[in-house]
Amino acid sequence: MRKTINNMKTAIPMIIGVLLLVNLLNPLFQKFYPKIFTGNYFLDPFLGALGGSVSFGIPLTSYVAGGELLAGGVSLLAVTAFILAWTTVGLAMLPLEIIYLGKRFAIWRNVVNFFFSIIVAILTIITLNFLGL
């Protein structure tokens, strides 16, 4: 029970903070989203993965942030890469990862995960379109 309460203590302030930030930035940038996220199969997930790489936290927070960005007009391609890179690429945590797991491992893991965020996002959207879902 204590572990779950600790999870809640970490997650709830983070979720509220992210919601506040997204809802503050969305009205300011919403008009630019259609120009930036045009549905391009390479540029959209690349930008999404960049955004996700500099953010970090539990996957739940990325779904909340991604869902709000999607509602604000960001393409699903970009949002998919964003939520993937959020958990699998951790630029902020890279120094810590290097200390514990080694430089070679940490750098290669983050590089591979960055490109996988883009590839998996593209494959997911192509599959959904192909299946007509």
Partner: protein, 173 residues
Amino acid sequence: MNKKSLEQLKKKRLSNSMRFLLVVVILYIGLAFGDPALIKGAVWKTGEVFVQILPILVLVFGVIYVINHYLDPQKIERHLGEESGFRGWLYAVIAGILIAGPPYVLYPIFGDLQKGGMKNSLIAVVLYNRNVKVQFLPAMIYYFGLPFSVVLSFYMLLFSLFNGMLVGFFSKK
């Protein structure tokens, strides 16, 4: 200052997530002087969304409680050694899905396991599958729908294996 009071002081320090929230609140207060309408709208929208997702959050934390209650991380760690073979890959996928915790908690644990002989490829698989979380699925389905959640989870599981192979190959000494 003695050890006990130092520990008490540490406990009183704000967590990273509370600090993050505090920074956002300070930003809101600062911007409220310039554009009160923008801030009012953002606060209102945040409250609206939070109330909407509250039942999902209750469900998510319910599932987290059940998993925490029945999961023994030491059991999983035992099956991820150098000689684990195919079963090791399978356990790495399962461990990644079940193990919860921030990177700063997981990295020291996997650093120890790496020293103890755990393969880099399996560590990469576990860390990649942190994204596939049974407990967070209700939230993913709520925001993106069931078909998206199923397709994305399938690709994440598949690519976690490719990820393990590539990271294992490149990080070989």
